[in-house]
Assembly symmetry: C2
Homo-oligomer: 307 residues x 2
């Protein structure tokens, strides 16, 4: 098997990640995870994308809500509400344990990478989950209501304000995590999972030197846009507001400088011809782990063409 790096953001990415982890050994697959959504809330250091992937790979993600942990309870949050605390960000009782434990480790001087590794190990995850950087990068959303931190935009404002653009605070001084740099050096292929191109994948791509590294390695991307819509999250709405057609073609165009192949859903089959990059169409809607495994296998088969 070739050695693969998968780049993931939120929940859609985590679904393909689960499929890839089912077919590739931990020595052949690592994950680079967006940290632009990370934020501090009630003194807790929260890394939503790392957590989505961690819960998915540990098999303890909540498949009904699409976020958080399975079998979650909300007694902390209801008691906090009673006390007049800030409850706009949903913190389940079990999820809170992860945030508090990570915060404790970070406050003791561990890096985000070390904290992520320690948590993953305890949950029995064997594939490396590597934050894109140990230096803070904050995704800021420029909206009609002014610049909002990502979680304010995403959770508090429910993605309602119209988007004009994005800024990744700290990106110039953040370095690609050294383990990721090493992994990229030795990897044969890269898969960009179906995550939001603008807020989940771009922070990673905009880290110093990353695009140049990717351009040298066979890379494919999976479209998060299906039939003009995102299955989850604001990607399609953002594209329309940015004046970009919300289509798989637009996603291919966004990545065109450094990808070798593109994967679209079979619903978009007809647009394959209008995409200038080699493109396959397949089922990209992952309702079950079996769907994720099929898509993972199709992606790996497609990627082989470019090795």
């Amino acid at each position: 098997m070739p050695r693969i790096l998968a780049i993931t953001g939120g929940v859609g990415g985590a679904k393909l990640a689960s499929g890839l982890a089912s077919v590739l050994d931990p020595s052949d697959l690592a994950f680079a995870v967006n940290t632009g959504d990370d934020f501090e809330h009630l003194g807790l250091k929260i890394s939503p994308d790392i957590d989505s992937l961690t819960y998915a790979l540990a098999g303890i993600n909540n498949t009904e809500t699409g976020w958080g942990r399975e079998g979650e309870s909300w007694n902390f949050l209801s008691a906090l509400k009673e006390l007049g605390g800030d409850t706009w960000f949903q913190l389940g009782d079990k999820d809170l344990a992860l945030h508090l434990h990570r915060t404790t480790m970070l406050n003791k001087g561990k890096t985000l990478t070390e904290a992520t590794e320690a948590i993953a190990a305890k949950l029995g995850i064997r594939h490396p989950i590597i934050p894109m950087s140990d230096q803070p990068v904050s995704t800021l959303v420029d909206t009609c209501d002014g610049e909002l931190s990502f979680q304010n935009y995403f959770v508090k404002e429910k993605c309602e304000p119209e988007v004009n653009g994005f800024r990744f605070q700290g990106i110039e001084s953040a370095s690609l995590q050294a383990k990721l740099d090493q992994w990229i050096e030795g990897c044969q292929g890269i898969i960009i999972c179906p995550s939001n191109p603008y807020v989940s994948v771009d922070p990673f791509l905009k880290l110093n030197g990353v695009k140049e590294k990717l351009a040298k390695i066979p890379t494919i991307a999976v479209s998060p846009i299906i039939g003009g819509r995102a299955l989850k999250g604001p990607a399609a709405k953002m594209m329309r507001e940015l004046g970009i057609s919300s289509s798989a073609e637009s996603v291919a165009e966004h990545y065109s400088a450094f990808i070798d192949g593109f994967v679209i859903d079979e619903a978009d089959k007809e647009s394959a011809n209008s995409i200038k990059i080699p493109t396959i169409s397949t089922n990209t809607v992952m309702l079950t782990l079996s769907d994720s495994i099929s898509l993972a296998e199709n992606c790996l088969g497609f990627l082989e063409r470019f090795l």
Copy 2:
């Protein structure tokens, strides 16, 4: 009704406090609470004695365990255990909300008094709960295993190491909370609740100037020792280890310099004669709120003698 200050520590004190709060108006009764047990754990600022009183006065204390909140759940702690976090201190999901909310307020610059007031108001508590001081005081227990922080001794070591003495770190530079000072100025009587004299009441008494202030005001104390034993907690064990007879007489002796009257349990009736301070015996075992109210009424009746 006279204006009363009640001095309380842990759970025994909180029981009498509930009785007093049932018979006296909020304008006639305030509570001075020990903060020597306060500590920081997992980044949370925890005030066990303030919390015991807060939960008791709000009527949401767990009467079965004798500590914590009623209807508590433990999903946070079990998830933290799974992640390898520190779980020696029992943090229920609802209780955690209070600690995190207080910590957020303190980190934003509020005083412990302000944070305590805000929480009490949200829980519908009308009687003032006032921390003995806004400056940190830490009770340290000198044991055969060396000096231990109070929670380490009390929770982690389950009060097992033999006690040689106590030290209240920070006591010299801590001031009596200004609102307490004011309340004491205008109060007619003081009741020392049946809390541990050495670790729950002494920190308050050892604050600069407090004993002198108390000596000028009619003050009674209720013995936490009944028939040579403490109903809860390590008071009797500590007394034996310190070479003090674990009796109500010893408690009276401990407070003798500034109390006017002493209340013992009817089980100790016979020892009333050997106590040099005016003493009454009554039921001091508070199994129900009705028991707490009876004891409160008896204490207030007794205190009237000294006004």
